[in-house]
Amino acid sequence: MTDLSPIQVIVNGRVRAVRVTPHHTLLEFLRDDLGLTGSKECCLVGECGACTVLLDGRSVDSCLVLAVEADGGEVTTVEGIAAEGRLTLVQQAFLDHGAAQCGFCIPGQIVSAHALLAANAHPTRADVEEGLAGNLCRCAGYEQIIEAVLAAAGRYAAASADHGTAARARAAGSPDPAVRLDPAATPDARLAPQ
């Protein structure tokens, strides 16, 4: 009944070959096994979005995915959004607009915002409201969050007009240059519980 299932998942660019119990969720695997506590555990019914991660490039509530279902997949958590210590334009825009109040929902908001901008480079305000409808903010900081995402979209558009970099990254299926996974990523034996 409680046999461990071997899975291999790429998390934030690193291959993790681990054994998990089938009744544990992707969220539990990320937080408890990998120590990636950026994704928050909150409603556990798919309403609040605090646990949002990208699974194979698409945003999902990690509380509603079993860890075993992620076998063979690629997961990006909020910890994997920024690269080399540099904030993404979305993250910087959240800071600039005071979008983070208590901060609890922000990892999910950031991941959803990246997923939205990857799918829609020029979102309207309504697009942002719908794209982030699955992320609740109990501080009710929605106005600043929406402004931050719109501002980030504008900055991506300006950057792509200058260099074409963000546009190329988006065309390649990645929200922005900072979240492209390192193709040379190797298994991290130290962090992978065996």
Partner: protein, 289 residues
């Protein structure tokens, strides 16, 4: 969450074998957006969870086959809502799929899972009823087609036999021009379950198919061939005379926390008129959906 073992069969035959051998102790898993909640709160307590996502025969895509559009049982709401063929020929289904849960939910939730869950408030079922969808069920005895009207029995109950799986959902391609729409009422904009959910199609010949959910134990399909509802110039009284008997099957539960029965019945009438307005306008504007 109560422990269970996990199987990810590669073939339909293997999945059916596991489901038949395990009986009621096995549960099929597609998107999981309903099932994992049930597993966590203990309302579903399987010994074995059978994940269908490793089965190539169960498609994740949408394809045309003869006079039908076939939506694979692994196709997720976000892809169905964005599919150009669904948007062209089955706009009410695209609109319904686009309001299920949030983006995160729609990236996982499948149409097949939505109908198997058989929630009275399911947003996609009224559109499937209006379009005359057929459910392709597969079991050890082979495959069979079940009309969506026969498939949906009651809350959480479908016509699926033990050991049977849904492999796909077929939509007959339109044979005449029609205008269609999905509308619903929720407590809040954004992410919420429907207090009333409704789809309708007006055909160029004047007939109307209308289906409504979240106002009874299962969604309800009605048809009208009077031509009155397809006539935007008809009086409000004329529409009321036709609509009232059509909406009479609504029997909202007084126990629901989302909305009281009086409110739902009132909103059902508002939504039916709004939907007919939009469907008539779409028909006039030359839509085929």
């Amino acid at each position: 969450m109560r422990p269970f073992s996990y199987e990810r069969p590669r073939t339909l035959a293997a999945a059916i074998r596991i489901l038949e051998a395990t009986g009621t102790a096995a549960t099929a898993l597609a998107g999981g957006t309903d099932l994992i909640i049930d597993l966590r709160d203990g309302s579903v307590r399987p010994d074995v969870v059978v994940d269908l996502k490793g089965i190539d025969e169960i498609e994740a895509g949408i394809r045309e086959e003869g006079d039908r559009l076939v939506i694979g049982a692994r196709a997720v709401m976000e892809d169905i809502a964005a599919d150009p063929r669904v948007r062209r020929d089955f706009i009410a289904l695209a609109e319904a799929a686009a309001v299920v849960g949030s983006v995160q939910i729609r990236n996982r939730a499948t149409l097949a899972g939505n109908i198997c869950n058989a929630s009275p408030a399911a947003d996609t079922t009224p559109a499937l009823l209006v379009y005359g969808a057929q459910v392709v069920a597969v079991g050890s005895g082979g495959g069979r087609r079940i009309s969506i009207d026969d498939f949906l029995i009651g809350p959480g109950v479908t016509a699926l036999a033990p050991g049977e799986l849904v492999a796909g959902i077929e939509l007959p391609l339109p044979t005449q021009r029609r205008g269609a729409v999905h509308v619903r009422r929720t407590r809040r904009r954004g992410h919420d379950l429907a207090s009333v959910t409704l789809a309708c199609a007006v055909f160029e010949g004047g007939s109307v198919r209308l289906a409504y959910g979240s106002v009874g134990p299962r969604p309800w399909l009605v048809t009208d061939d009077s031509g009155v509802l397809a006539d935007p110039a008809a009086s409000a009284e004329a529409w009321t005379a036709i609509l009232e008997p059509l909406l009479a099957a609504a029997s909202p539960s007084p126990r629901s926390m989302r909305a009281g029965p009086e409110y739902r019945l009132a909103m059902l009438r508002v939504l039916a008129r709004r939907a007919l307005d939009v469907a008539n306008r779409r028909l006039t504007n030359g839509a085929t959906a």
